[in-house]
Amino acid sequence: MRWWTPYAFLAPYLALFTVFMIVPIGFGFWTSLHEWDINLPAKPFVGLGNYAELFDPGSVDGGRFWTAMRATGIFTVASVPILVVLPLLVALLMNGRFAGRNVYRAVYFAPYVLGVAVVGLLWRFLLDGNIGLVNHYLGLDVQWTTDLPPAWIALVGVTVWWTLGLNSVIFLAGLQDIPRELHEAAMVDGAGAWRRFLAVTLPGLRPVLVFVVNATILASANMFGQSYLITAGAPADQTKTAIYLIAETGLRQFDMGTASAMSFILAAFLMAASVLVFGAFRDRRRP
């Protein structure tokens, strides 16, 4: 085997990776160093000016950006624990043997097949504080879409309802991979249900858990459709998430330079979050 044989096998994928990942990322970074307006002919080089502006809280885009990052942060912190714990519980139930199990599994997964546009429009009208059915049937007077914190409760609630099924199914697959013998052995050793969950189920789920936590953090940090459709950023842009602002800045105001710089800062935060998650789930038993 020549030294380059493995790389030759890697080459087809690497070519795709370069064309569709590395080059766009490089182009994005290059864009972020310019005052890059899609169709103004002059695209002056500004170096790190776009970044400096974003880190200056007194500037227009800086203030807007950190409000949006804060919104993304709040949503992520509020939704990820629920989107991990609740699907795990649902998966444990799904994994049992009982009549109507398939119906139960389908019911939990059903909302996930809906598109975000359907989910967003549906809940925008259900949640409307003055003419919505939620307040009507619960006898409440809560402005779910224009007040804080109700807007966050609404956005997190809708997202949980919508995406719970996906994480549940992934957990379910993980649960079914845990050999029954381990449970039986633990039972013979006299372990109760809780003990078996801690000593057999959770360790067996660890790889799945890392994936679910990471994917959920990334999905939550990329939240856009729900706040775009349900709250439209209300009240006063406080639920306008980072992706929402990036899309608005780049595609509506044509300010690609600032939008790219925002994307890179957001990406840096997400990479740091992923590193922390992998660190937290590292298997400490091995040296």
Partner: protein
């Protein structure tokens, strides 16, 4: 471990190589700091009359997604029939908020419109972005003159000394009322003055309407604010477009009046987007301000509602209402093909003569002569144009849309949601707006 490292090192290296390649590739296409735009080739002069060139297909974009859409489509069909075999116009209708961001990018890609309808406040932005080509010759051939138009509409089409648009119509903010509610308090029409309006609200509330006048925090809240600002004698932006003036005393008074409707109990607090209009259709709201483009929606979708339309009341002392106009423009994409330019001009010529037909879509014809035609004069919205002096427009400053959405609309929302007092919200908004205006001056001057 070493194996692991070397793999990572390899990936890092290839990544760096790819990045360098990408940067180098992009570098060629980007002129750093240069302002040289390729000048549009001089298009042939339009002299009116028939189109004589080979058959062309024109892409025509507009945002008539509401009750106005079917009328526009039938006008386009009529044109296609008349010009069959010579000019074919392909109608592309998408929501305005999707249309504007798409136009410049689509034109750059060659898949955009050849001719389009845009609002008056976008003309400056798109002209500065070289998305549009001038139309002075069409205006000459059509024998259109300023005296036949509402001056503000006419002048909005001029950027840097050249005309870029042919106005089609005017539309404004109006006061819709629930006839059954008003009857209960003995009124036939919405009151037109401040005292009468406030008294009516108070009586409506006593008559059992829990919240007669819902105050939105988003669309059309900023249109209400601007109308009230003008009524109080305020102005939006300085003549040269460098300063925002809407934080003035008059602006504070205007916004105070809006917030007071919540404090006085005429509006619920924190009304969600569009729900004031939905509630009006449901018969829960007595009075609501909205654009006249809703006329056809109410006719079609709220048949059991007894509603009427009036000019918005004069709250500030001088009658004024936010207005905008739809305008025909030719794009830089059409400008690349002389035949397309000629065909597009023939199309604009033809369509702008149909303003009577278009008035049936709920709009007010921009031409004074068209408004006097008997079949138009009887339409409900046309009475709003009795005094065209009340129509106030956003100035055609390049980039004004960004300033509005990032500063003015946000300030109005903050005040209506009670996150800040009107004075504080406006002060903060104006500081943002001034920075954006300075940015725009620099950006669009190049």
């Amino acid at each position: 471990m070493t194996h692991h490292l070397s793999r990572r090192g390899f990936l890092g290296l290839t990544g760096a190589a790819g990045l360098t390649a990408a940067v180098a590739a992009c570098g060629g296409g980007t002129r750093i700091g240069s302002g040289a735009a390729s000048p549009t080739a001089a298009a042939p002069t339009f002299t009116g009359g028939e189109y004589a060139g080979p058959k062309v297909t024109l892409s025509y974009w507009n945002g008539f997604t509401g009750g106005d859409g079917p009328h526009m489509r039938s006008m386009v069909d009529a044109f296609n029939k008349q010009y069959a075999g010579r000019i074919e116009v392909r109608n592309v209708t998408r929501r305005w908020e999707d249309l504007y961001p798409a136009v410049p990018t689509a034109i750059t890609a060659g898949n955009g419109p050849d001719v389009a309808i845009i609002h008056n406040d976008w003309i400056g932005t798109f002209a500065a972005r070289q998305v549009l080509i001038p139309l002075d010759d069409v205006v000459g051939a059509l024998e259109l003159t300023e005296s036949d138009f509402i001056p503000a509409v006419w002048n909005a089409g001029v950027y840097a000394g050249k005309r870029y648009s042919v106005p089609l119509d005017v539309h404004c903010l109006a006061d819709y009322f629930n006839g059954a509610h008003l009857e209960k308090i003995g009124l036939q029409d919405a009151p037109a003055d401040k005292a009468g309006y406030e008294q009516a609200l108070s009586e409506l509330k006593k008559s059992g309407v829990a919240h007669p006048f819902w105050m939105p925090n988003k669309w059309p809240a900023h249109l209400m604010f601007m109308s009230l600002l003008w009524q109080h004698g305020g102005e939006l932006y300085s003549e040269d477009g460098t300063r925002a003036l809407w934080g003035s005393e008059q602006g504070v008074e205007a916004l105070n009046w809006m917030v007071r409707q919540i404090d006085d109990g005429y509006s619920p607090a924190k009304v969600a987007i569009d729900s004031q209009y939905a509630a009006f259709k449901n018969g829960q709201v007595s009075l609501t301000w909205d654009g006249i483009w809703q006329i056809n929606d109410l006719k079609g979708n709220a048949p059991s509602l007894k509603w009427g339309l009036a000019a918005i009341p004069n709250i500030g002392g001088t009658a004024a209402a936010w207005s905008a106009s739809h305008n025909f423009v030719l794009t830089a994409q059409a400008g690349k093909d002389a035949n397309k330019v000629q065909a597009a001009k023939a199309f604009v010529d033809h369509m702008s003569r149909q303003s009577t037909e278009w008035a049936k879509a709920g709009m007010i014809p921009a031409r004074n002569s068209a408004r006097q035609a008997p079949e138009v004069a009887g339409l409900p919205q046309v009475k709003l144009a009795a005094d065209v002096g009340i129509f106030h427009f956003l100035p055609a400053l390049p980039g004004v849309g960004d300033v509005q959405s990032k500063a003015l609309e946000l300030a109005v929302a903050k005040a209506v949601l009670k996150q800040a007092s009107p004075a504080d919200a406006l002060k903060e908004g104006v500081a943002t707006a001034d920075k954006l205006l300075a940015d725009n001056k620099r950006k669009y001057a190049q």
